[in-house]
């Protein structure tokens, strides 16, 4: 048994299944104490079931680790506070919060309901606030803490039919970047993970949808035709999260990491790529000339209109 997280107490939301469960188990194996949070909902957020969290907690204990199940939802302030409180009451302190919990309600923007929007934003994004807020108070006081949020390539690159999920996931990256700047000076780090893994959640995206997207020329999340593709188990995401929780990672802060299979990438910040400058106000005719030829040269429309659609402006220039 490893000891990289000996004495550390960590809450992992959504750890009854998938990537979260693998993270919780790794923390247990590394000597840490873990609150296994999972209300056991379906992928769309409906229903509740204590079994997933209980089973993971039991599995960790059977392997000699310390784990306790929690069934609160991160979508409410009370739920977030409860799991932080439970960690402190059971283990005496809290050292880290890993927010993996999430649901999916995919729908094209023009068909998406208010409820589909609200529910997804509540679990992912407000869920991040609901756990980070109470944890950050304690982290700041004890001058130590680890915050790990789960973002997604769907938010950072955009994916069809996921306006709610993409907004929430990109928002998590933004929130993490701000938390990193609020808390870094107190010895707390905040980082984001964009995972690539085959889980119950990704299984809801039919291959037919992927095929449809590619046949219509819409760029989707790429499934790399590489060895990485054979390594899509959720367990591959856990080591990098475990590492970020260790003392050794004290100076890794405010970053987003893509983790899929054995590949870990540092994602670039959303920095300017190319610019045009004028010491004054731009005129429209200047922009009409410079934007296509210079600023946007070679940058493709990720979802171009079909050739048979009449597009005002398409024949211009």
């Amino acid at each position: 048994m490893g000891s990289s997280l000996e004495g550390r107490s960590i809450v992992v939301t959504g750890s009854g299944r998938g990537i979260g469960a693998e993270i919780a188990k790794l923390i247990g194996v590394q000597g840490g104490n873990v609150i296994v949070n999972d209300p056991g909902v379906n992928v769309d957020g409906s229903g509740t079931d204590n079994a997933p969290a209980e089973e993971v907690a039991q599995e960790i204990r059977a392997a000699g680790g310390n784990a306790i199940a929690n069934f609160d939802t991160v979508a409410t302030a009370d739920g977030g506070e409860n799991m932080i409180t439970q960690c402190v009451e059971e283990f005496g302190r809290i050292d880290g919060i890993v927010h993996v919990a999430g649901i999916l309600r995919d729908r094209m923007i023009f068909n998406m309901t208010e409820e589909e929007w609200d529910d997804v934003v509540a679990v992912h994004l407000t869920g991040l606030f609901n756990v980070v807020k109470p944890a950050s108070i304690l982290f700041r006081q004890q001058r130590f803490g680890r915050i790990i949020g789960f973002s997604s390539g769907s938010g950072m690159n955009g994916n069809t039919g996921q306006a709610n999920y993409g907004a929430a996931k990109a928002g998590i990256t933004g929130g993490i970047r701000c938390a990193a700047r609020d808390l870094g000076r107190y010895g707390v780090t905040s980082n984001a993970i964009c995972p690539g893994a085959a889980t119950r959640m990704t299984a809801t995206v039919p291959d037919a949808a992927r095929d449809l997207r590619s046949s219509q020329g819409i760029q989707g999340q790429e499934r790399a035709e590489s060895i990485v593709n054979q390594l899509r188990a959720g367990s591959y995401v856990a080591p990098m999260v475990g590492y970020l929780l260790t003392d050794q990672a004290w100076n890794v802060n405010g970053k987003c990491f893509n983790v899929s299979g054995g590949q870990v990438s540092l994602s670039s910040d959303e920095v300017p790529y190319r610019s045009i400058n004028k010491a004054g106000m731009w005129e429209l005719d200047e922009l009409q000339a410079l934007v296509p030829s210079n600023l946007m040269s070679g940058l493709r429309n990720p979802a171009p209109p079909p050739a048979d659609l009449s597009i005002p402006g398409r024949l211009v220039g």
């Binding site: 990289s4 590394q30 923007i109 929007w117 934003v121 994004l125 407000t126 606030f129 950050s136 130590f144 938010g155 955009g158 994916n159 039919g161 306006a163 709610n164 907004a167 990109a170 928002g171 933004g174 970047r177 938390a179 990193a180 700047r181 808390l183 870094g184 000076r185 010895g187 819409i218 390594l231 080591p239 590492y243 004290w250 100076n251 890794v252 802060n253 405010g254 893509n258 990438s265 994602s267 670039s268 910040d269 959303e270 920095v271 300017p272 790529y273 610019s275 045009i276 004028k278 731009w282 429209l284 009409q288 934007v291 429309n301 979802a303 209109p305 659609l309 597009i311 005002p312 398409r314």
Partner: protein, 325 residues
């Protein structure tokens, strides 16, 4: 003859600041504009029909077409109302610009549930509440332009803005998805991260910028006080309007899903996040292996934007630099 002749636009939060500059430019280029602004204070409190009315009067005095709307984008009904008003008053909606926003800055450990909820409601749900109804009509007519307003506070990060940064980064994410959902229907959606001196940025005191710089915390943009910045003379909110107008013109039909940083006369396009560096192992990493590879390859010479203060004990800080095995 303007580049927006015959177009109908809704501009949220256009009673003041950047939104007002865009609305004025749109009208000057021939568009009919719904001037939406409930006239709230920067923190979202209060209500005043004055700002929207005043912009409508100015546009009409210059010979343009405009109508005022005072709904809040924080409610679905508000977003639906202003889209409906565009159709009722001017026959259709071609352009939607989401500029409305509020600020409730607070360090994360002091931020209240209300401060979180209100900022997310106006910015993030405020984009959904207008885009949803507009997208139905734009898809049907096979034409549309949507502009979202993000911020470097979200795309880069900023102290004391967990709510605002999350919302603004989320807005960029939303825009990238909307671009893909609607691109094939002749609709574009792009995102602006503006830099301008407005009522909103005026609430950030110079002392806060100095404090950040003094503590070694990287802010979203320059840590320098506004008046000393290189763009000091170019921070009028009107400077954001030309690029927004261009993106809403027919010429820009193939520009879709991008984030543009616009500040004064500087316009840049942000790259989608790319894998800057990678480490790979054909199997599960162990933690000691990651310690090696992360310290010596993945994160080598990469800055911590807010390093821990020198006077606090940081577990791990005293571990000597590891050598790549």
């Amino acid at each position: 003859m303007g580049v927006l002749d015959g177009k109908v636009a809704v501009v949220t939060g256009s009673g003041r600041g950047i939104g007002r500059g865009i609305a004025m430019k749109f009208a000057a280029q021939g568009a009919s504009v719904i001037i939406n602004d409930p006239g709230v204070n920067v923190d979202g409190s209060g209500h005043d029909a004055g700002p929207a009315d005043q912009v409508v009067d100015e546009i009409k005095a210059l010979g343009g077409q405009a109508a005022a709307n005072y709904d809040s984008v924080a409610e679905m009904a508000g977003g639906e109302n202003m889209v409906k008003q565009a159709v009722d008053a001017f026959g259709k909606i071609d352009i939607l610009v989401n500029t409305a926003g509020i600020l409730r800055d607070r360090m994360i450990f002091n931020m209240s549930q209300e401060e979180w909820d209100d900022v997310i409601a106006v910015h993030l749900k405020g984009h959904f509440s207008t885009i949803k109804p507009a997208s139905i009509l734009m898809r049907q007519q096979r034409y549309g332009r949507i502009i979202n307003f993000s911020s470097s506070s979200g795309t880069i990060g900023n102290t004391g803005q967990f709510n605002y940064g999350a919302a603004k980064s989320g807005i960029a994410g939303l825009g990238r998805v909307v671009a893909k959902d609607l691109g094939r229907y002749g609709v574009t959606c792009n995102i602006i991260a503006p830099g301008a001196g407005t009522r909103m940025t005026a609430t950030v005191p110079d002392s806060a910028r100095e404090l950040r710089a003094g503590s070694g915390i990287q802010g979203a943009a320059s840590n320098a006080p506004v008046q000393e910045s290189a763009y000091a003379g170019l921070r009028d909110p009107e400077f954001v309007a030309p690029m927004v107008t261009y993106l809403c013109s027919d010429d820009a039909w193939d520009i879709n899903g991008w984030v543009f940083n616009v500040s004064g006369g500087s316009i840049s396009v942000s790259r989608y996040p790319v894998a800057e560096r990678s480490i790979f192992k054909p199997g599960h990493w162990t933690l000691p292996e990651l310690d090696d590879a992360v310290q010596n390859v993945l994160m080598k010479d990469i800055d911590n934007p807010a390093p821990p203060r020198d006077d606090i004990e940081v577990p791990g800080r005293d571990i000597a630099a590891r050598v790549l095995s």
